[in-house]
Amino acid sequence: MTRAVVTGIGVVAPSGVGVDAHWRTVLAGARRTGPITLFDPTGYPTRHGGEVPDFDAAAYADNRQLVQTDRWTHLGFAATRLALADAGLPERATDPYGYAVTLASSSGGNLFGQRELQRLWGGPTRTVGAYQSIAWFYAASVGQLSIHHQFKGPCGVLVAEAAGGLDSLAHAVRVVRRGTPVVVAGATECPLSPYALACQLRSGLLSDVADPARAYRPFDAAASGYLPAEGGAVFVVEELGHALSRGARVYGEVTGWGATHDAVHTGPDAAGDPGQYARAMRLALDRAGVGPDAVDVVLPDALGVPRYDRSEAVALRAVFGERPPPVTTQKPLTGRAHQGGAALDVATALLAFHHDTLPATAAPDDVADGCDLDFLRGHRRPRSRVALVCARGFDGFNSALVLRGAAPTRGVTR
């Protein structure tokens, strides 16, 4: 069976731009959420979130590309460039039909779309600009990346709310197995426009706690919802032989995945279906050919909504029983970037193996009733080098991904 490995990672997230900045933030356990600055959030019950610090879009795309696209796509331009450079691949594909890009996007070009809606409904001309038709829709980033980098194989765009970031990596493996040796996968998001935030507030899952340090505390007795974030991570997923033949550094292999649906909506009286969530994890482990005992670390969805945190703990206990592996989440450091957040967890897991360090969890401090799991309280060396990354999407999506980390690179700094 064809094997697919990750050879490049591009992080553009509140934790930093680039894998090194992200890893430093994770190791330090430094919270990067804060007041939303992309607009004035004064009138909103949720006023904090995770923004990419000092993001200079012009460093990653030319002016023509930037004016045609939303900030979400700008983040995608950056993450993709960083991932290609990290993988040692050229900016433009030398074999265009051997390259594809499959990203996830849960809400498209929000800032751009709102500006054009305002122009249409509130402006004097009642028109929209020429780029609205190519900037707002969910395929905008993938289309632009395909053109710029000459990725001309089978490209895709997946939407499964927060779970799609994992699905895009699973799909990348499907595409690799069907003969395209290099597939760029992952997700970036930018749901931080006034209207997009207004929409998210209606989900009932956002935290309205005013102190950012206390606002997003998954599995904690003080859990109150989550803080939204922008950014994410993009990966170069590559057929193993292709990677080895060019002497690429391998972070790890995507060995298993599973996706299920609760067939139950998210709501104030619902908490998902832990049985179906557990089944997604088991499917991923089965596909990877490993038992629960072999898992080194779990990166959970960590929604931060008490009833969903409890149901996630139920699912994890159902899979792992009495000998649970350590659980660690860094989402409280960055906020929750929807599909980009799940992709960011994949980056964290691969970097953990690369640096030979499983990072301590950022939450909880005071474990909530029903959320007893083996939270990783300090940094620790990996053992089996198998990570299970889990994600759930609004209205019932469950996804799980199994990664097997490569042996650590000699001489890396800790």
Binding site: T42, G43, Q68, Y97, S105, S106, S107, Q114, E116, L117, Q118, W121, G122, R126, T127, V128, G129, A130, Q132, S133, I134, W136, F137, Y138, A139, A140, G143, Q144, I147, F151, K152, C155, G156, V157, L158, V159, A160, E161, G164, D167, R174, R178, P191, P194, Y195, A198, C199, Q200, L201, A259, T260, H261, D262, A263, V264, H265, G393, F394, D395, G396
Partner: protein, 424 residues
């Protein structure tokens, strides 16, 4: 990859001119056009004031009160289509089977209609940049995230397999069926409700296509405004609609004695890496997608009985596509009947790819090829057989459908009649 084959066992359609499978098929084989002046809002301010709208009654379609409250129009279409497709397939799944039954649906613009309506409210008609969140409707988040499309269909039918929304613009409808086909081939699911839905007939969408003059301005004659492959074509006519197919692993279908429309024999996609809205004149990547789909189906170009064209009716698309057919099929391109049902049902963005695949399944089933309506004047660069104006009875063993979209996506899919017994 594993020898697992995918068959189509159910078809559901909501289209302009026919809000059910049978009415849709009757309308398009009679060559009736469903394009008209926009009735959902006053379109007077816009360059293009026409569209193909669905006369859709969610109550008659069996949607519950909760579904009608929660779901945006495009999701309601998908709920109606999926119910029709499941009934058509006679699908009655056990609990264990529901764990291996998924939903993969495409959409290009998702909840645009609800998002725009709500935006007008929360922004005080565009006066406020910092919108008033408190005035947002209860289901505003569901409108923001198009994942609602797959979620609502999974909830309706109690399906616990993989659920996904594929959003590759105007090829979403083919790509969603392709994704579902791959899930079945790879053993990740045995049954998938696959298709697409879009309801983009909203001022912001109309304005967006006005801005780039992509849509037809033939407001004086809406019934004849969608003119694929005709020399006097002036752009596409915006539309809405949906189609959902029941895809099933062939052995699963055989064991329950299901009626099989056809097999999903091949699916290819390539990106042109050329321009967000422009097309290479030579049709290279669409040609490659077609060749890949035929290769998977192990079919030669001469074996294609019918092509359901993308045929949007823009100047450049129809030439691009004609070039792609010649490139991929060679001399056979001149002999195969080709038609664009967009001439009748318009261009429903992501949805149309699935509606066209439904038409392919029905063409194989009934041995009739729908026409290209409104064809009157030959374009020297579009010199193939476009089945002008009248349906044609002929045995269809192999139907090829193609799609092309903003972002450079080019997709192709082959449906094939199964002769004899359903394969194991």
């Amino acid at each position: 990859m594993t020898g697992r084959r995918t068959v189509v066992t159910g078809v559901g359609v909501v289209a302009p001119g026919g809000a059910s499978r049978d009415r849709f098929w009757k309308a398009i084989t009679e060559g009736r056009t469903a394009t008209r002046r926009i009735s959902f809002f006053d379109p007077s301010q816009f360059r293009s004031q026409i569209a193909a709208e669905c006369d859709f009654d969610p109550v008659a379609a069996g949607l519950t009160a909760a579904e009608r409250r929660r779901a945006d129009r495009y999701v309601q279409f998908a709920l109606a289509c999926s119910a029709e497709a499941v009934a058509d397939a006679g699908l009655d799944l056990t609990d264990a089977e529901r764990d291996r039954a998924g939903v993969v649906l495409g959409t290009a613009v998702g909840g645009t209609m609800a998002l725009e309506q709500q935006y007008v409210t929360v922004s005080d008609t565009g006066r406020r940049w910092l919108v008033d969140a408190a005035r947002g409707g209860r289901y505003l988040y569901q409108a923001l995230v198009p994942s609602s499309l797959a979620a609502d269909v999974a909830c309706r039918h109690g399906l616990h397999g993989p659920a996904q929304v594929v959003s590759t613009g105007c090829t979403s409808g083919i790509d969603a069926i392709g994704y579902a086909h791959q899930l079945i081939a790879d053993g990740e699911a045995d049954v998938v409700l696959a298709g697409a839905a879009d309801s983009p007939i909203s001022p912001v969408t109309v304005a967006s296509f006005d801005a780039i003059k992509a849509t037809s301005p033939d407001n004086d004659d809406p019934e004849h405004a969608s003119r694929p492959f005709d020399a006097d074509r002036h752009g596409f006519v915006l539309a809405e609609g949906a189609a959902v197919l029941v895809l099933e692993e062939a052995g699963h279908a055989r064991r329950r004695g299901a009626h099989v429309y056809c097999e999903v024999a091949g699916y290819g996609s390539r990106s042109n890496g050329y321009h967000m809205t422009g097309l290479r004149p030579d049709g290279l990547e669409m040609g490659l997608a077609i060749s890949d789909a035929l290769r998977q189906a192990r079919l030669a170009p001469e074996q294609v009985s019918y092509i359901s064209a993308h045929g949007s009716g823009t100047r450049q698309n129809d030439r691009h596509e004609t070039a792609a057919f010649k490139r991929a099929l060679g001399p056979a391109a001149y002999r195969v009947p080709i038609s664009s049902i967009k001439s009748m049902v318009g261009h429903s963005l992501g949805a149309i790819g699935s509606i066209e695949m439904a038409a392919c399944a029905l063409a194989i089933e009934f041995g009739v090829v729908p026409p290209t309506a409104n064809w009157a004047t030959r374009d020297p660069e579009c010199d193939l057989d476009y089945v002008p104006n009248e349906a044609r009875e002929l045995p269809v063993d192999v139907a090829l459908s193609v799609g092309s979209g903003f972002g450079g996506f080019q997709s192709a899919m082959v449906f094939r009649r199964l002769s004899g017994a359903v394969p194991a």
